[in-house]
């Protein structure tokens, strides 16, 4: 059933068997899974069924680091799936591994442990079939054979099309369920503990103009997004002294996103062919888009972070390929830019025997961010209407992130040239000794890492089952638990992890 706390008469505390905080992809997936297995749960959503200004205002941020972190959270049923793009792909197997060249890398679980849940997550996310082998889905009319002997990897995304809005898609099911009770406008602002601080006894609900309430439960799962999971844990620190899972000052650290940035241009005589290969296409029921990046062997031998590039005809305008674009425009207009650029372009054209007009395309990067303890979420001195401190987001990238992107582009540039597919130009900003990321950098609203998963409490906030270290009955769900990020958009993986968490919780207490 779905109820609205603002419509309920003021009353006593609310009791539940299992309480999920947050009605986004993770919270809804967990509630559905538990209910399907006969377990009752209460799902608290801070918003309603649509965007409301006063509720959304609670998602304000203080930004002190890199930009591109605003506007990511949506406070109504469905959460961030209400504006996601539907990009789906699992993490690669080596994303889970400890890599010598990536400090603090390694998950406490491997790809195999998540594999059965990925295929279930595929259906949850509205995707028709589990197949991420490009050669299987490309069909005969798209020939990627030129890359067969290449150190490059062509890895496809699938698209939930149209992007599945979890709130809309599963609202009726939740409303009909006699196992799930959804409570809208249930804004959690803090915790009460028991067991000497080892257990959460209750969460506190506060909303403007309404009396405070408490929700008591045997087990709690925070599933309220990459900022809010951190914010609530840090808030517990203020309230309880010591806080949950923060004995080692790890809550909020290692905050990561997927750096998205226009990163190189491609001068190519084969723009039509490449556009056909690298733009979205339909393959039966699937909508697919190929990316190009370093293969696993090249990532290891060159000690690269993971990352992938999409390729488009040059959009207008694109930061980072501006110089090449201006050069190309000038040449087409019969104007000659500075002599060196002109000569360089002529030589590059000659060397590849461009006989027809070459065209410019642009690479767009989607990158793994190296785990960085200095990239973090803190609590601001500013507070929301309920007096809860806002998150202060200090998103930082490191030299390793820039170095890895540069190395990836050199590899791609060499391979495209070798294969006669064109010439790649890296942007000036990426060649600087100290890289200043360009203005079009953003994180994709992929809020990860602030409550990272690790078997060792000294290295993470939650254990391999997503239980907060040192707490008996508090779990976290969502991409905030990712210790490393790969390059793939997080929704499919966080959904798979949530399904795994559901199995764990059911094993602890099978039925209500």
């Amino acid at each position: 059933m779905i109820e609205d706390l603002r419509q309920l008469p003021p009353g006593a505390d609310i009791d539940a068997d299992l309480c999920i905080v947050g009605g986004g992809a993770a919270g809804i997936t967990l509630a559905r899974s538990l209910a399907a297995a006969g377990r009752n749960c209460l799902l608290l959503e801070s918003g309603g069924l649509a965007l409301e200004a006063d509720v959304q205002a609670r998602s304000a941020l203080e930004v002190t680091g890199l930009g591109g972190v605003d506007g990511c959270q949506l406070r109504y049923l469905g959460g961030a799936t209400n504006h996601w793009g539907g990009w789906c792909r699992p993490l690669d197997a080596d994303d889970f591994a400890r890599r010598d060249w990536v400090a603090d890398s390694g998950w406490p679980i491997d790809a195999e442990a998540l594999a059965p849940y990925y295929s279930q997550a595929q259906a949850v996310c509205g995707l028709p079939a589990w197949d991420y082998q490009l050669e299987n889905v490309a069909g005969q009319d798209r020939d990627f054979g030129a890359f067969a002997q290449s150190p490059l990897a062509l890895r496809p995304y699938q698209f939930s099309r149209p992007p599945l809005r979890f709130g809309e898609a599963y609202r009726d099911e939740l409303g009909r369920s006699d196992r799930v009770r959804v409570l809208l406008h249930a804004n959690v602002t803090g915790f009460e503990t028991a067991g000497g601080g080892r257990a959460v006894a209750a969460v506190r609900l506060q909303d403007s103009g309404l009396p405070d309430r408490r929700v008591r439960a045997r087990c709690f799962v925070l599933a309220c997004g990459g900022f809010e999971n951190v914010r609530l844990l840090l808030q517990s620190h203020r309230q309880a002294g010591g806080g949950f899972g923060n004995d080692r000052d790890l809550v909020g650290r290692y905050f990561a996103q997927h750096p998205h940035v226009s990163c190189a241009s491609l001068l190519t005589p084969q723009a039509d062919q490449l556009e056909r290969l690298f733009s979205r296409f339909a393959a039966g029921d699937l909508i697919v888009r190929a990316t190009v990046g370093a293969g696993a062997q090249a990532r290891q031998s060159q000690q690269l972070l993971n990352g992938a590039l999409t390729l488009d005809r040059l959009p207008d305008p694109v930061t980072g390929v501006g110089a090449a674009r201006a050069l190309w425009r000038d040449l087409r207009n019969g104007e000659w830019p500075d002599e060196f650029s002109t000569r360089l372009w002529q030589v590059v054209s000659d060397l590849d025997s461009f006989v027809a007009s070459p065209d410019l395309m642009a690479f767009y990067a989607r990158l793994e961010q190296a785990p960085n303890p200095d990239s973090r979420i803190l609590l601001s001195d500013q507070v929301d209407a309920q007096g809860v401190p806002l998150p202060r987001v200090d998103w930082r990238l490191s030299a390793q992130d820039a170095d890895s992107l540069r190395a990836l582009l050199l590899l791609v540039g060499a391979e495209f040239a070798r294969l006669g597919l064109g010439r790649v130009q890296l942007p000036e900003w990426l060649l600087a000794t100290r890289v200043e990321w360009p203005a079009d950098l953003w994180g994709g609203c992929h809020l990860m890492g602030g409550t990272r998963m690790a078997a060792d409490p000294a290295r993470g906030v939650v254990d391999g089952n997503s239980r907060v270290h040192g707490m008996d009955n508090l779990y976290l769900a969502g991409s905030s638990v990712f210790p490393t990020t790969g390059f793939a958009n997080p929704t499919l993986t966080l959904t798979a992890l949530t399904l795994r968490l559901a199995d764990h919780l059911l094993a602890q207490a099978p039925r209500s």
């Binding site: 002109t342 360089l344 590059v348």
Partner: protein, 122 residues
């Protein structure tokens, strides 16, 4: 100084190109690299730029060492060999960034060689 060192080195490596030692610039004939480029002047000017770029010209020998295999017995340059050299460079990561463009080392070397020999002829 860089050009002088390059000339000295080239005269030893590429006798087929009839390069003379510094001081005998008039004896240097145009190398047969020009046909590799539709616009040899552009390549030469790019080579001049590279020679002025410290990171590229720090050790000319390092950049130019590939080109010896291009010269055939008749002193001409084999376009096929150049193509193979280029492919090898790209496959093995022997690449150079010029103005941000990813180029094979042998390509840059050819441009630099054009520039050096033009300088010597002048």
């Amino acid at each position: 100084m860089i050009r002088r060192r390059a000339l000295l080195w080239l005269s030893g490596l590429l006798p087929g190109l009839n390069l003379a030692a510094p001081g005998h610039a008039a004896a240097v004939s145009a190398p047969a690299l020009a046909p590799l480029f539709r616009r040899p002047l552009a390549a030469q000017q790019l080579g001049e730029h590279c020679l002025r770029t410290p990171s590229l010209a720090r050790d000319p020998a390092l950049l130019l060492d590939d080109l010896g295999s291009l010269v055939q017995a008749d002193g001409q340059v084999s376009a096929d060999r150049f193509e193979r050299l280029r492919e090898r460079d790209f496959a093995t990561g022997r690449i150079v960034l010029v103005g941000g463009w990813v180029m094979a080392r042998c390509e840059v070397s050819a441009c630099m060689l054009l520039a050096v020999t033009a300088e010597a002829r002048a």
